[in-house]
Symmetry: C2
Subunit: 308 residues, 2 copies
């Protein structure tokens, strides 16, 4: 499943939501010479104009017309808008076209897609690129965003293998490494390593900002606080949607974390130095091993997690 | 309280614990031409040899002899060792000498100092430089560490004003900005903006590392997780000591945070989008305002927090 530079993988690409995720996908495919024509669709005219001017897209399209011409559609809108977008795509989708998405949650997107595509659900390939930044809009897009990053391909039992292979090839042409995972495991995994830390960071800054002596506290917050709370710089709307979309898995993670925090609290309360040593030492060692693994090339842990 | 370059502020400086904090203090004072002779005292001979070789200190001293010669003593050991160090200093302290410390907690250090110095407590000036890194030992020391950073001077009612002024001048010669705060307010403030985030980060990595599918989770943890958990890369021993030393204030912060997290959990559980918007938006805005204030020069909020 390699994508040699210059091999056209996509004739007419439609990107709905030409922001950081969608725009960077288009730029990377252009740079790889893997796409002939890119049409941008979206609600924000100024953003689409900017995408056209910056060479991210070749054309600003009207939804139904663009979807009918596409052989590859990436839905890169917020998850909350995907139901509507899928409903607009379904009636005009070419039989040879594939649809994929870039949403941060998968089970809810799959449910929306099933409801819109019905018997054609096999043409839809759920996916999630593990890349991002605190920037929005077409002007934030860059061809290098996905280089060396992971792409989770969360195929369904009904997914057409050829459609999955096309989506995987396109992401590989962007420089991403493709990993397969069920939508359920995806959501459970990202609830733990992404959604939970975001909620914890938002809750901390909110809690501190509400204290009567908040000004004093912020005055003495330093670089550790800045790093810890960087996730609270994310879009409130996006993280509200993700938190609600992945509600069940996230609640489980919050509960398990809160229970562990309560145990650590009790260690401090009873001045149990040995128990604190064990928790802090375990955390430090696990984090170090994780960073070492990343340094060493971040090889996938097992064949089960490899690309389809 | 300015310290012109080249003006000798300290004749014989003794640093106990020549690591990042103590070693950087010595290097900064040397660079400013503010110290004549630096003696290093400590338990690790290899580290002291390295400090001597690197020019951080001029001489490796024996505790009692060195303390008797000093006109300025910085105790930069872990807080857990300070009681012993203070007890060794007290009987030989010159009447014109000042003692200060670099500990991350203040009420416990003050209690140890009171017990060791008795009627001479006025010569002890509790302090906390707000700088640090994940590095240890004399080889990590650098003259620039404190430049532009805050130094909290937590003077006691009994503190000799001249002693406090000498300590403030020395830190200003290192490039630090000196702020006054009571030990109690210091501990409450840092429990919120430093100790709590450390505990939260350690607890998260520990919790994830204990899960049966930890390998998979770490495989998908990305840059946001890395930043959020950077604090869990700190020394387990040091953070165990700080957590226990500042136990009362830290427990209060953990409880207030846990209560807020439980509220956010309930918002997610009942899919209350508006409430989540408010929490996430408040956090994002407060963090942005904080970063803007830092950018704008991080002026102290009020005269009350200014140096003595």
């Amino acid at each position: 499943m390699s994508a040699p530079r210059g091999r056209i993988l996509i004739d007419t690409l439609v990107i709905t939501g030409v922001g950081l995720i969608g725009g960077s996908f288009a730029l990377a495919l252009r740079q790889a010479g893997a796409v002939r024509h890119v049409i941008g669709v979206g609600r924000g005219r100024a953003n689409l104009d900017s995408a056209l001017r910056l060479g991210v897209i070749d054309e600003i399209g009207e939804a139904a017309d663009a979807y009918a011409r596409a052989d590859f559609i990436l839905v890169a809108t917020p998850v909350g808008q995907m139901g509507q977008v899928f409903a607009a795509i379904a009636p005009v989708l070419r039989p040879d076209a594939v649809v994929t998405d870039g949403g941060s949650t998968k089970c809810d997107v799959v449910a929306l897609a099933r409801s819109a595509f019905g018997a054609n659900i096999g043409r839809f390939v759920p996916a999630h690129p593990i890349a991002g930044a605190e920037l929005n809009g077409a002007s934030a897009a860059r061809a290098e965003l996905y280089r060396g990053k992971k792409l989770v391909l969360a195929a369904l039992p009904e997914t057409d293998p050829a459609a999955a292979a096309r989506v995987a090839s396109a992401w590989e042409a962007c420089g991403a490494r493709v990993f397969a995972m069920t939508p359920e495991l995806h959501d459970k995994t990202f609830a733990a390593v992404s959604h939970l830390p975001h909620v914890l960071a938002f809750a901390l800054v909110d809690e501190i900002a509400r204290k009567p002596h908040a000004d004093l506290l912020f005055q003495y917050a330093a670089s550790g606080f800045r790093d810890f709370t960087r996730l609270a710089g994310g879009s409130p709307e996006m993280w509200r949607d993700i938190s609600l979309a992945n509600r069940r898995a996230l609640l489980t993670e919050i509960d398990e974390y809160a229970a562990r925090l309560a145990e650590v609290r009790s260690m401090i309360d009873r001045t149990d130095a040995a128990a604190l040593d064990a928790v802090f030492g375990n955390a430090r060692d696990a984090r170090r091993a994780w960073l070492d693994a990343i340094e060493a090339g971040d090889k996938p842990a097992g064949a089960a997690a490899k690309a389809p």
